[in-house]
């Protein structure tokens, strides 16, 4: 009888892609279709633990195929790879392999490295701590960097500071919009830390996009919308906190979800949420149709054992999608589309380019 119930539930889940007993059972056909759809759409760079224990940079196709290590540096850990807008280069941070990655301040850790997009030609661009949170300008000729004294716009070739301005409380995750008109970052704003803000790159004016416990923003290609992680306050725990406790988390702490909103903070909406997982590192495809993210069972995004968290990919048109049982979330978002979620290897801080030459050896 129990097997019959399991069979019926599993069949239903496969057919409709719904969750059963806390585990997402993907609709295999829909997931396969999604994998096929994205397979040839460029490359993903991400950090992952190696068998040696250090972190290296890896490239893979968006469906998880073609995975290969592009840094292979036992003495160092590489983190936070970001392709240049033309997909020909990348920048990332490099720290000694015996240093512990801080999920929060990684963009200011170690040296800034510039390399070709396939990982070759890596050169040290700045000394430890310099060029923190460096972010490419749309034409790849400048970098926006974050310092305590303010935001610096530097010429990429000469490293000279072209202009600087007040950082207005931004303290991490600085990213330049594709149209060059805006910057985004995580900031202290109106008494709340962890507010995702948008800054006018010319006037320096700032407006909040999402207040209270938000981070890891990324731009949609139209520069009008942002995707970010958010851990809303006062999340309901229908199980009285049992799930949280079972994962070593304080009851009432809540789970981090992936959201998107317009640059002026309006039209905030859920992209993906899953009770029992913290969703971080949302990185959009260059056309904004897909997003890749990590699903960490512990907050911080580095996974349960600091080995990276399982990554996943979904279509933006399938938002909102809810994974797992997530009773409270499903109550809040009854119109969840429950689109297919393509499971990907463990990793951290992914970034996406459609440039084809990137991963080809």
């Amino acid at each position: 009888m129990r097997n019959l119930r399991l069979f019926i539930a599993t069949s239903f889940a496969i057919l409709y892609g719904v969750s059963v007993w806390g585990a997402t059972i993907p609709a295999e056909a829909r997931v396969s279709r999604l994998a096929k759809e994205v397979q040839a759409k460029g490359w993903i760079v991400y950090s992952a633990r190696t068998e040696r224990g250090d972190w290296d940079l890896f490239l893979m196709r968006p469906d998880g195929s073609g995975r290969h290590n592009i840094s292979n540096t036992p003495a160092f850990s590489e983190l936070g790879g970001r392709f240049s807008p033309d997909g020909k280069k990348m920048l990332y941070r490099r720290i000694p392999s015996d240093s512990k990655i801080n999920h929060d301040v990684w963009g200011a850790m170690g040296e800034l490295i510039v390399a070709n997009a396939d990982g070759t030609g890596a050169t040290v661009y700045g000394n430890a701590g310099e060029f923190a949170w460096a972010s490419w300008s749309p034409d790849g000729k400048q970098l926006a960097c974050l310092t305590k004294a303010g935001i610096e716009i530097r010429d990429f070739a000469t490293k000279k500071v072209l202009r600087n301005f007040d950082r207005k409380g931004i303290y991490q995750q600085l990213f330049w919009s594709p149209d060059g008109q805006w910057l985004t970052g995580t900031a202290n704003h109106f008494g709340e830390s962890w507010t995702v803000v948008r800054m006018n790159a010319v006037t320096g004016e700032v407006n909040p996009v999402a207040k209270f416990q938000n981070c890891t923003p990324d731009w949609f290609p139209d520069s009008k919308r942002l995707i970010y992680s958010s851990r809303p306050a006062n999340q309901e725990e229908p199980d009285g906190g049992k799930l949280a406790s079972s994962m070593g988390q304080r009851p009432g702490y809540g789970w981090t979800q992936l959201w998107m909103a317009d640059g002026d903070g309006s039209r905030g909406s859920l992209v993906y949420g899953e009770d029992g997982r913290h969703i971080y590192g949302g990185a959009l495809s260059p056309d904004g149709r897909y997003v890749i993210f990590s699903r960490s069972p512990v907050d911080g995004g580095l996974g349960a054992h600091d080995t990276g968290a399982p990554m996943a990919l979904m279509r933006i048109e399938d938002a909102p999608t809810i994974g797992g049982e997530s009773k409270a979330l499903r109550k809040l978002f009854p119109h969840t589309k429950d689109g297919p979620i393509l499971p990907l290897p463990e990793g951290w801080e992914p970034h996406w380019t459609y440039a084809e030459a990137t991963g080809k050896k």
Binding site: N102, D104, V105, A108, L146, T147, K148, A149, R167, G169, Y171, Q172, N188, F190, G191, E192, S193, W194, R250, D299, G300
Partner: protein
Amino acid sequence: MSRSRSFWLGLALALLAFSCAKRGDSGVDREVTTLGAIEVTAKLVEIPGPFPPNDLYNYGYVLKYKVLAVHRGKLDGDEILVAHYNPLKPRSTAQDEFSGKVGGHLDRFRAGDVHRMALEAPLDNFWMGGVVDKYFQQKGVRYWAVWTNLKTD
């Protein structure tokens, strides 16, 4: 042991006990008098809310002080807003690789206590990270506490 030796031993122990007994502390030490650009003695007016945990996220928490004495540097007004790094930790263990120089002999923050502090300003020049500021509607300088000692005398 002779009676004389017992007397002197007893006296020494009594003096030692006296010197170790709880007594007033001016909060003065080498660090508080040399670090930072400003040195004050100030009374912690209130703690405006519970300190968030800092097991995963580091932050500065802004506290309001009534200034009792300015020992070095200049301040505007007699009420100041001071950000302390990860205030759940004793000052002696608060410093880490991200904080810059932070320390002192204060074990925990209690409203009404008097602190001798070495400060820097403005906050943004010394700490680039999360700040919980319940006084955000109040304009003015936010100071960064470099060294914080409890003053009890």
